[in-house]
């Protein structure tokens, strides 16, 4: 188990290193000079040069890459070109919106998908199954931003059950904050839940055909007991993979959803930063997202080992 973890950790570090180079390189070729954007249309050339050197933009690229990486490792993400505040602080503030949103959506989609998938698998071929599967087909086909628009139209503008967007802030209490994240979380969660439910169902159906399920029935377990005690945990293995992948989809999807609901999250930050050429922020946020995805996949790998003892003493 330890060795398995260490090996995964090593490949995690390599992945992160390669990812950082790729991100840095892409950002480097981006057109648009941050200094001239900051100073506006009437800036003088000497002021610009002064600002560039203040921002460290006149250093050689290699130097800047290592400065960036070194800074990140010590928690210093640099200073935002436009806001002039530490990037780390900005990201931390936004993370308090994006992360709860992703987790909220993940929880919602799991809460919807697991029972739906299990229900459908247990009633394979019956009307209940067909209904759930039909709904999931639809769910998979709906673009989440369109769904978000519809949610706003119905629940915020017409029914006024929810705010149309914006974030209350955690300082106003947990409930108002969650309330303002509810519609976005639903918009993010439902399409994902549809995928998850489908995976859950098909994985469970595979398991239901396994010999050990028959063994379980022969012991006297009812269909239901066999399903819950022996089926679900085994079916969880492929579902975990999807769950891991979904986290990255949720983070990415939140970029668009945050636009629709004007939530001050990482997605909005990245869009704003791209449009204002606040490259250091773009760089750091993208790196953070990649880091989150890689770490989540690492955790998923570890979770496999928890679910599947066969992996525990693997190297």
């Amino acid at each position: 188990m330890l060795r398995y973890s260490l090996k995964r950790l090593l490949s995690l570090i390599v992945s992160l290193a390669v990812a950082s180079v790729v991100i840095f390189a892409v950002i480097e070729v981006a057109p648009g000079d941050p200094a001239s954007f900051m100073l506006g249309v009437n800036a003088q050339e000497d002021t610009l040069a002064a600002l560039r050197s203040e921002l460290g933009l006149d250093q050689p690229k290699i130097q800047r890459y290592f400065d960036w990486i070194g800074g990140m490792l010590t928690g210093d993400f640099g200073t935002s070109y436009t806001y002039r505040t530490p990037v780390a602080q900005m990201i931390a503030d936004r993370l308090w919106v994006s992360l709860p949103l992703a987790l909220y959506a993940l929880t919602l989609s799991t809460l919807i998908a697991f029972p739906a998938g299990i229900y459908a698998a247990a009633r394979r071929g019956k009307p209940g199954d067909a209904a759930v599967m039909g709904a999931t087909q639809l769910g998979v086909a709906i673009p989440n931003f369109w769904f978000a628009m519809m949610l706003v139209l119905i629940f915020a503008i017409n029914l006024r059950w929810f705010g149309a967007g914006g974030f209350a802030g955690w300082d106003k209490g947990v409930w108002p904050a969650l309330h303002s994240l509810t519609l976005p979380a639903i918009a993010l969660a439902l399409p994902q839940a549809a995928i998850l439910a489908r995976v859950m169902r098909s994985s469970l159906l595979d398991i239901l055909g396994e010999d050990f399920m028959r063994t379980a029935r022969a012991k006297g377990l009812s269909r239901r007991q066999a399903l819950w005690r022996h089926g679900v945990r085994n079916a969880l293995i492929p579902v975990l993979t999807i769950l891991g992948l979904q986290f990255s989809f949720l983070l990415a999807g939140s970029i668009i959803i945050e636009q629709v609901f004007y939530l001050p999250g990482l997605g909005r930050l990245v869009f704003q930063a791209i449009s204002s050429r606040d490259l250091i922020v773009v760089e750091s946020v993208v790196m953070l997202l990649v880091f989150a995805v890689i770490v989540v996949n690492f955790l998923v790998d570890l979770a496999y080992a928890l679910v599947d003892p066969r992996l525990r003493n693997r190297t």
Binding site: A141, W146, M150, A252, V286, V293
Partner: protein, 271 residues
């Protein structure tokens, strides 16, 4: 043939036909503005109504299908064209440094939140259909590589591959002659799924303004344009949304149906 396949095939060919037909005929010219006639609800004159510039939405949907299909199709082509050979090579040299390299490379691409990178690519190299295709295509490569590798690996364990090796055939030849035809079904099914995901991705990118640029009509941009008008002209958002849903639903149903239909296990049982 299953109900899924028939329904899915029907919906998909409907969209495809609309796209092809749009080259020859649309009820109105999709690009002609008629501002006095803006925001008309669906009716006899304009079946799907008109948009904020008075353009005919039905015509725009037809031409938009063209954009969606072209972007998604080429992106799938990129993914298959590069991913499948990579996957086959990795499987043929299982456990070698090549396999390791290809799979790590795949993991890496997977680790990037695809939308963020697509945004980055289009932000850096400019918004537009070509960059959208590249951005979507890049993320198709590991998908196909993974599917091809996984399926090929299990085939490499089969005795008929061993028999081919005994007959002196090399890895490349075996991959082309034995592996590829046997995983083709899977690739087709995955292809339909990626195709539908490509349509969604294109819509998403266009929605944030990074996909096809005006005046090329695109469903995603139609939605973006409709955003502020849903409350008084819901058809502006409903119709492109439904177009996307119908297309993706059709493709997914078709993918599911194809999977069942092409599954050799079921086919053998039927024979």
């Amino acid at each position: 043939m299953s109900r899924n396949l028939i329904l899915g095939g029907f919906l998909s060919s409907l969209v495809l036909l609309a796209a092809i037909l749009s080259f020859f005929w649309t009820p109105y010219d999709h690009a002609t503005l008629n501002i006095p006639a803006k925001l008309q609800p669906p009716g006899v004159e304009h079946w799907f109504g008109t948009d904020h510039f008075g353009r005919d939405i039905f015509s725009m949907i037809m031409v938009g299908a063209r954009t969606s299909i072209a972007v998604a199709l080429i992106a799938v082509g990129i993914g298959m064209g590069l991913g499948v050979p990579l996957g086959l090579a990795a499987a043929a040299r299982r456990g070698s440094w090549l396999d390791e390299l290809i799979m790590r490379g795949n993991d890496l691409v997977f680790a990037f939140p695809s939308l963020v990178i697509a945004i980055l690519i289009t932000a850096v190299f400019g918004a537009g259909a070509v960059n959208a295709i590249i951005a979507i295509g890049i993320f198709n490569i590991p998908v196909f590589a993974r599917v091809a590798r996984g399926a090929a690996l299990s085939l490499w364990q089969r005795e008929f591959i061993l028999a081919a090796r005994v007959a002196g055939k090399g890895a490349a030849r075996i991959s082309a002659e034995h592996i590829l035809p046997n995983i083709a079904n899977l690739l087709i099914v995955q292809g339909t799924i990626q195709f539908s995901l490509g349509i969604l991705a294109e819509a998403g990118l266009s929605y944030v303004g990074l996909g096809a640029q005006p005046p090329t009509p695109s469903w995603g941009r139609m939605l973006a344009d409709a955003q502020t008008m849903v409350s008084f002209a819901p058809h502006l958002a409903l119709i492109p949304g439904l177009a996307i849903i119908v297309t993706v639903l059709g493709l997914n149903l078709m993918g599911d149906g194809l999977r069942d239909w092409l599954d050799p296990r079921i086919r053998v049982a039927r024979a």
